[in-house]
Every structure is written in C-alpha cells, then in structure tokens.
C-alpha cells in the first residue's frame, strides 16, 4: 500500500452544548485500506462518521475526505463517497434495475454510463435473471451485495459501510467480504463501522473509540498482541469496560 491518505482527521472535535461527542480525534486512512471504526454505543462513532461524510459540521479541528475539506466542501464529499448501511440502502419496491438506474442518476451518471454499469454489475453479481425483480423479494445476502455494488456505482474513492454484513449466513458473509477485498484491491478505501468484533478482524486496521476519543488504532493482529487477547471481542471489552453503562 502506498502512502496516499484519502481520509485525514486532525484534532477533529464535535460538541453538542456542554457535551463533547468527539474529542480531538486524529487519524489517517490510506488508499485501498479497509479501515474498521469501532466503539461502544454512545462512544461518538456515529457523530464522527457524520462529520466525515459531510452531514455534520465539526466544532473544531480539521479533516479532509477524498481531498475535500469537511468545513468548506461538504457537498463535494457527499458526491465523491459511497455509503451503505443495514438500515437504508435500496428501495425495496423498485426492481434491481430500477435501483441501479435511480442511484446512477442521483450521482450524475449519463444514460450510457448507467447502461454500461447496469450490465457490468448484473453480470458480476450473477443477478442478470433477477434484473426485473423487486429488491424486496431478494434474499438478504443478495440485497447486501447489490447495495454494496450500487454504493460504488459512481466510482467513489471511499465507501462508508455501516454494519454491512449483519444477519446473513456465513458463506454469504464471506462472499460479501470478498467483494470488499476486491474493491480495496482496486484502490477503493473502505471505512467500516460495526458492533461485531469478528467483523472487525477482516479490516486492515481498526480504531476503537471510547468516550469520544480513539483509545486504540492498529492492525487486528497487533491489537490482540498489545492487549493480550485471543479475539477482538476481548480487546474491545478491555478497552471499553469503563463505559459499559450505555
């Protein structure tokens, strides 16, 4: 991996009145890196992610995402990133093809580009026969793969994934991670938030937020060594024990 950060955060802070949700966090994420962003409920994860996706203006500090400043160019950030979450991703009552067309149009692709992308994407996912099916009728695992591919439709440098693989069977889950590895290999940076520590073990590096700060940041292997833990679950519990009230 070459040193080419696509997310840079310096002393990034967000206060809500007297409450500091994100407390001067600093980190960088490289091009093509799969970066896990973890934290207990209420640790500040969502607030940090909202700042990095241009949805929330920070109180102080600096950050740039895909080369755009979070203070000045929030709109540009939104256009240049991909986003997928468990809760919101695709329209269930539109067909597979209609969803692709809708998101392609939202991201400003031409009709021709949308046509090409639809063809490629359906072929890659093996969904050509289901192109005219409503998304709601697809198995969860297919929806997740489709949602991920659609999040990449405008070829963003970064894709944000919010708990991407919950609830699917272990084989489908691995197929999904293989899509992520492939995207990362092609140079897309993947920023993953999750509650599930075994999911974090798939990431190149992982940061763990506790009380608004980044309490640890390293490869899963190194974190397990540092905290003398067998699993990321144990690492997390050791770090976050003090905030167990939430």
């Amino acid at each position: 991996m070459t040193h080419e950060p696509v997310i840079i955060a310096r002393q990034l802070t967000k206060r809500f009145g007297p409450f500091t949700a994100v407390d001067a966090i600093s980190f960088e994420v490289e091009k093509g890196e799969i970066f896990g962003f973890l934290g207990a409920n209420g640790a500040g994860k969502t607030t940090a992610m909202r700042m990095l996706t241009g949805l929330l203006t920070p109180t102080s500090g600096q950050a740039s995402v895909a080369g755009f400043d979070v203070f000045r160019s929030a709109e540009q950030i939104k256009r240049h990133i991909g986003y997928m979450s468990q809760r919101f991703s695709l329209y269930e009552d539109l067909t597979v093809k209609e969803n692709i067309r809708l998101f392609g149009t939202i991201y400003g692709l031409t009709q021709r580009q949308i046509g090409d992308k639809t063809f490629q994407l359906l072929r890659k996912l093996g969904l050509s026969d289901e192109a005219k099916q409503q998304v709601g009728a697809l198995p969860l695992g297919w929806k997740q793969k489709l949602a991920f591919s659609i999040a990449l439709i405008h070829e963003p440098k970064i894709v944000f994934l919010d708990e991407p693989t919950g609830g699917v069977d272990p084989v489908t889950r691995r197929q999904f991670w293989e899509l992520i590895y492939q995207a990362a290999h092609e140079g897309v940076t993947v920023f993953v938030t999750t509650h599930y520590m075994d999911e974090s073990e798939y990431c190149h590096r992982v940061s763990i937020m506790v009380d608004g700060r980044i309490a640890a940041l390293d490869t899963p292997r190194q974190l397990k060594l540092t905290y003398e833990a067998d699993s990321m679950d144990e690492v997390f519990v050791k770090l976050a024990r003090t905030t167990s009230l939430s």
Binding site: G39, A40, N41, G42, P139, L140, G166, G167, V168, D169, P170, V171, T172, R174, W177, E178, Y181, Q182, A184, H185, H195, Y196, M197, D198, E201, Y202, T219, P220, R221, S231, D233, F236, V237, A240, R241, T243, S244, L245, S246
Partner: protein, 301 residues
C-alpha cells in the same frame, strides 16, 4: 427432565417454508442456543413455542403442556423477549416493569432478586420513557420485564443483535447467573461466536436443523484438516489458492484465510506453490475448526 420437546414441526407462510421438520429437546436448566442467519426460522420456532403461532404439522410441548391445546398454561410459565423491542415506548422504565409484574399477578418486590443485577444498571433512568433509552438499556429493560414473573423458561429471540460487545458480554454473564437459579433458557443468535456460551446448540438454516450438540461436540465433528493461511495480500492469495486443484475450499476468516485441502496436499507443497506464484510471506498452520467453519461445512452438504 425435558422442558421443551419439538417433534417434526412444519410451518409455511403462503409459499414460504419457514420450518421444515424441526425436532429438538431442551433439558431443564440448560442454555440452549438456536444459531442461524436471518430467515432460518428461528423467530417462527419461538412464536410456536410461546403459543403465538400454531404449527402446520408436527407437535410441541413446553413443560409437558401442548403448545396448541394448553396455550394458556404455557403463557403463565414462560418469559419471552422478542427480537423487536416490544415494550411500551411511552411508559417509563418503572411503569413497564410494574405492568409486566401485574399482568402475571406478581410484584416487582417479589422477584426483585432475580433482576437485581441487570435492573440496577437502568434504575438511575427508571422515570425515563422506554422509547428514549439506548439500545443496550432497552435490552436490559426487556430482559427485566421478561423475568419479573419468575418464568421457568426464558425465550430470548436475538437478544444481542445490535448491541455492543461490552453489553453483549454482560448479557451473557447474566444468562449464566439465571441458569444457576434453575431457569431454562432458549436463546437465538445469528452470531456464531456466541455459540460457545451455550450448553448445547442447534445450527439452523432455511427451516432445517444442520446439527444439534454441545459446542465442543460440533467442533469435534469437523473431520477434515483445516489450515489458516496468513498473508498481507488477502485478495491476491485468495485468488491464487482458488486456482489450486487440490484446495477443496478457501474462505476469508477475519485476518486469515481458512482452507480445507484435498487429501494429498501438504502445507509444504502449498507454501511452495504460493512462493512460485509470487507470495513468499505466507504462513500456513493447522488449526482447530470453529463453529462457523462447521456451519459452512454443514451448509455445503
């Protein structure tokens, strides 16, 4: 003593087959885990056992009561925590707890000892409306409400979904304390790493059971050798391994790849193959299978 006895239960929703011949027994005082992904049929089985649905075929008893004929008796004896938060959002924490105690003809005081450990953590917020609680607190309140009438069996449908690792750990510790009180627990989860916390587990997929045993028994039944392949070039090494004719299967597994070889392959040969393919820094070691490896193997059969 068998507290739950399920015999060849089927349930369809229109064309969707939710359960296709499920049989299992849960013994008194054990923590029995139902492990499987969304859509496996876990919730349907819970609803049948808690008398909220009737089976299309087959039968089931809970504490020797039939789930269809004796539904009223069963409802008094079990506690149920559904997967979706189902408490009254506009009642406070305390009001919810009082309500559930009274419905079962009990009081909070009578069984407070049972919920004390978990309820104390949300007691500072007892006048807050349930709808205003965080995910972890909602889960603790839901468990308190399911327990306040001192049920003999506790049905917990995906209690740890969407809850962070610290709260999950506390939750499992709590279940182990409840078991010591003699409460039988049937708990479902899509998370394979929680299987080890149960006394016995059933792996469920598409309405059928893949296996029932202790977690150790399931892991020990994995008969093939399993190798962990460690590399910094996950994507490329995975592609290279897929091309090898003597690799039976290979999957990403956290920060390593898990590989099952065909019988005539050695780790030395595979290392050489990877070296010749341009991957010198690969470490291959024999490892014991996890529940997730077993689940995937059983799915493939």
């Amino acid at each position: 003593m068998t507290t739950i006895d399920v015999r060849d239960v089927y349930k369809n929703y229109g064309k969707t087959r939710a359960l296709e011949g499920i049989s299992l027994r849960v013994e008194e005082g054990e923590i029995f885990g139902l492990i499987g992904p969304d859509g496996a049929g876990k919730t349907t089985l819970f609803r049948i056992l808690t008398t909220l649905l009737t089976p299309d075929k087959g039968s089931a008893t809970v504490l020797d009561y039939d789930v269809v004929k004796d539904f009223k008796a069963i409802r008094k004896l079990v506690g149920y925590m559904p997967g979706r938060f189902s408490l009254y959002q506009d009642l406070t924490v305390l009001e919810n707890l009082q309500f559930f105690a009274q419905v079962f003809g009990s009081t909070i005081e009578e069984n407070y000892y049972l919920i004390k450990d978990i309820y104390q953590q949300i007691e500072p917020f007892k006048h807050r409306r349930a709808g205003q609680l965080s995910g972890g607190m909602k889960q603790k309140l839901a468990l308190s409400c399911a327990l306040i009438h001192k049920p003999r069996i506790l049905f917990l449908d995906e209690p740890t979904t969407g809850v962070d690792a610290v709260s999950r750990k506390e939750f499992w510790d709590m279940l182990h304390r409840l078991r010591k009180e003699g409460i039988t627990i049937l708990v479902s989860t899509p998370y394979m790493d929680e299987a080890g916390k149960c006394d016995r587990i059933a792996l469920i997929q598409k309405g059928r059971l893949l296996a029932i045993d202790t977690p150790e028994g399931i892991v020990n039944s994995f008969e093939k050798p399993l190798w962990a392949v460690q590399t910094d070039q996950m994507h490329l090494v995975l592609q290279a391994l897929r091309r090898h004719p003597n690799v039976a299967s290979v999957f990403p597994f956290g920060d390593v790849l898990h590989l099952t070889p065909k019988s005539d392959l050695t780790t030395g040969e595979l290392s050489n193959y990877l070296l010749n393919s341009g991957f010198p820094d690969v470490d291959i070691s024999l490892i014991p299978a996890t529940i997730e490896d077993c689940f995937m193997e059983l799915m493939a059969e």
